[in-house]
């Protein structure tokens, strides 16, 4: 749900990074955080377990600049990927404006990708959202690993509606900003339409 404040001339949008456990959602946010000027970002909040697995969510606010005199702020969230945190995942999708699905390219994680994608569609429906109508980007992460499935095969399996697909190595930043730009553009285009 985009939040528009005419008094302070601000547009706030919510983007959620979704995907199976250990696919690199937090790594995406960490890279964005580390690579952004301090004036454009707030604090990176990580609600994680003692072993650094996301427990509830990671969050960082990012200011991109102004459009037609309005400051545009994106609130970036990740969900906990582990299957048993489904109730938390569902809560974080509330009010979402755009979703990035981070897929793990390793062959042995294919089933986890599919299960997580199915779970995303189900949880979006619970909030009255339709993945087919929502700004959405597919990121194929961990492209540097030797067990990575060819990108075309992975995309053929996971692409839902002709959404943009970005190959990435989040740990080194490859594809991270391309993915963010891609979803942010869709969110702003959606705002123009509405």
């Amino acid at each position: 749900m985009t939040f528009i404040n005419y008094a302070s001339r601000e547009i706030n949008c919510k983007i959620v990074y979704y995907g199976p456990g250990l696919c690199g959602k937090t790594t995406n946010l960490q890279y964005i955080y580390d690579s952004t000027a301090p004036t454009s970002k707030g604090k990176l909040i990580s609600l994680a377990t003692e072993t650094d697995r996301t427990l509830f969510f990671d969050f960082m606010p990012l200011e991109l600049g102004t459009v037609r005199g309005f400051k545009t702020r994106f609130h970036l969230y990740t969900v906990p990927g582990q299957v048993f945190y489904d109730a938390s995942r569902k809560l974080i999708l509330k009010g979402v404006d755009g979703v990035v699905f981070v897929a793990d390219s390793q062959e042995e994680r294919m089933d986890a990708n599919i299960e997580s994608l199915y779970n995303l569609e189900e949880n979006l429906q619970a909030h009255g959202h339709d993945l087919m109508k929502l700004p959405y980007v597919l990121q194929l992460n961990k492209r540097d690993l030797p067990t990575a499935i060819p990108a075309a095969d992975l995309a053929a399996e996971l692409q839902r509606k002709g959404e943009p697909v970005h190959e990435a190595v989040a740990a080194t930043g490859v594809g991270v900003f391309d993915t963010l730009k891609s979803v942010a553009k869709q969110v702003l285009t959606e705002l123009r339409k509405s």
Partner: protein, 159 residues
């Protein structure tokens, strides 16, 4: 309804800030703060100092969402208020429709007083939010600005 954009215009923004300021004084609080249930900050009044209000907004929304989830598990619609008491600083959160009212206070104020004042202010906030909701679909000149956003405008954000 909950997923229609929340659009705040100048007059309502001013009214919200006025009620927040009055509540802050009446409750002897340090900061009074309105955020929406998705964690977006709406308005704040008080001595913010080094308080990271953006993070506080997001965490409060997560907190309310999590306790709301627990409420449903035990058969309640929601838990409309939450209070956290620390050694020196305390936080009281109250759900008002689509918004959360957050009051940060220290040992100069009492939880009882804060609860009482919040209850009184809640009615005023509810009225203002009803007005905000009823005007959500009225278009203004500003809104046509969004229709005029060009691809170049969007691209310029990423240069």
């Amino acid at each position: 309804m909950t997923d229609t954009p929340m659009v705040i215009r100048e007059p309502q923004f001013g009214q919200l800030k006025t009620v927040l300021a009055k509540l802050r004084t009446d409750a002897a609080a340090q900061v009074t703060f309105l955020v929406d249930k998705n964690g977006q900050s709406i308005a704040v009044q008080g001595d913010v100092g080094n308080l990271d209000t953006t993070s506080l907004a997001s965490l409060a929304a997560g907190n309310v969402a999590a306790t709301g989830g627990m409420a449903q598990l035990v058969g309640e619609k929601e838990f409309p208020t939450l209070s956290h008491e620390g050694e020196h600083e305390n936080i009281y959160i109250c759900v008002i429709g689509r918004a959360l009212l957050i009051v940060v206070f220290d040992d100069q104020a009492s939880l009882g007083l804060v609860k009482l004042r919040v209850k009184q202010a809640s009615r005023e906030f509810a009225q203002i939010f009803a007005e905000i909701n009823s005007q959500a679909n009225e278009s203004t000149d500003d809104e046509s600005l969004f229709a005029e956003i060009t691809d170049e405008d969007i691209d310029s954000l990423f240069k």
